[in-house]
């Protein structure tokens, strides 16, 4: 990972190795959701390189902190998705087994 300008910490480019649209697009979303972000975007310089550049310009806070917060926000989202999904699957299995019993008792 590389950082951009040292003179102005509020704008930097992060170069992530071994990442692609999967992570970059998701993190761009959480960055955009942060009101401190003035601009953010990502690019893949060459399709053969396993590298993605994420550009962040903020309203004043260090770009590094904003990026870190975006990662944390994405993690919080993922954990919530996981919990909700697991609960939905358990509920579905429960309701299925109850339905199955109903059918058996009716027949």
């Amino acid at each position: 990972m590389e950082l951009g300008s040292f003179s102005d910490p509020s704008q930097s480019t992060f170069s992530l190795i071994d990442e692609d649209h999967t992570f970059a697009n998701a993190i761009r979303f959480t960055l955009n959701q942060d009101p401190r972000t003035k601009f953010c975007g990502y690019s893949i310089p060459h399709p053969s390189d396993n590298r993605v550049n994420i550009r962040i310009q903020t309203t004043g806070d260090p770009a590094k902190d904003v990026f870190k917060d975006a990662c944390q926000n994405l993690m919080v989202m993922c954990q919530h998705v996981n919990r909700t999904f697991d609960k939905a699957v358990v509920d579905f299995k429960m309701s299925k087994s109850v339905d199955g019993m109903d059918i058996e008792s009716n027949s």
């Binding site: 955009n32 959701q33 993922c78 954990q79 998705v81 699957v89 579905f92 299925k96």
Partner: protein
Amino acid sequence: MSSDNEDTTSSSESEQSDSGRDTLEFIEKLSDVPMGKLPTHVDFQRTRVDCRADAPVHTDTFQYSGAYASMGVDNSLLDNFSNNFRVEVIRLEKDEMEFDMIGIDPAIANAFRRILIAEVPTMAIEKVLIANNTSVIQDEVLSHRLGLIPIKADPRLFAFTENDTANETNTIVFGLKVSCEKQAKRKGPKREGQEQEGQTRITVKSKDLVWLPNGSKFTLDSEGSNSSSKSKTYTSFSCSQDSLPEFSSNPIGPTDGDITIARLGPGQEIELEAHAVKGIGKTHAKWSPVAPAWYRMLPEVILLKDIEDQMAEKLVATCPVKVFDIEDIGNGKKRATVARPRKCTLCRECIREGKGWEDSLSLRRVKDHFIFTIESTGVLPPEVLFTEAVKILLDKCDRAINDLC
């Protein structure tokens, strides 16, 4: 909001020249400037894709948190994500599941889909040691076919291969030894076009692959092989895999025993050893655990006007997926109703003919409602695959944070 407002504003300004504040108050009091709430047409653009006969419109999502700041609306999803996000399981079978993911941005939903296809690890045959192959199918084609067979082994119990060393923690070894007897010895009914009784072809199926929990049985050719008491093989297993508690109860094998690998004619045979290792779909599709995983946005079909009688019948007949039904509204009149909007594939056949249809019928997609379908190859149950995918995205974030420190 229109020229009307501007006119009144400018006139009021001319009357009270000094008071910019009064003007502002006046504007804020205007009833058609909603504060803290989006006007319906803007909200429609935000939440729906409108599918017109020529092309869909409002296809973007508005990600920027301040997109509606001028209307006093906070566009950041994060704060109320935990309240709004829902998952509803529609169908859950052994190898397939369908669920609705509601209240999530396509960027995140797509990350899960991409991870499912390309980054959830599985086991697949990577190395094939061929001792004998006299069948018509060439060695490299045979190896490729073997690679594509899904292996029923929990990939979470294995490690990625490092430095090309095969041991019991990263490799599964299968043996395959089949031959087709020349004549007479094989019993079987005489088939059409067959010259002699019993001369028949056999089909090599994936069930013929035999799991070798003790590792490779082929010995390495080296000078010292005769002198050493135990000759070295292509793998170095320190213990038998079936002695491990995870595998003793459910032995490893292909997910399906009925996959054709090759066909043998009389006198042909295949003897080989296949080594399965852990990998991800990004490297080769044979490691992809899904076949495949996809999502679509929830279709919404709205009748803007009543469609009656012949028009209704025409509408029902046009739709190839039977989205519409007809209901009787008395007096021998019939009216079209939207019965199964979820089935709509957005073929737009119903609005293709003329402007009239487009005015009476609106096809939309809900931007934050995803109908997610996962079809597993049988390696892991689909619900486990999804949780694995979420964990992988978590790991990615974790790694990015650690890289920053």
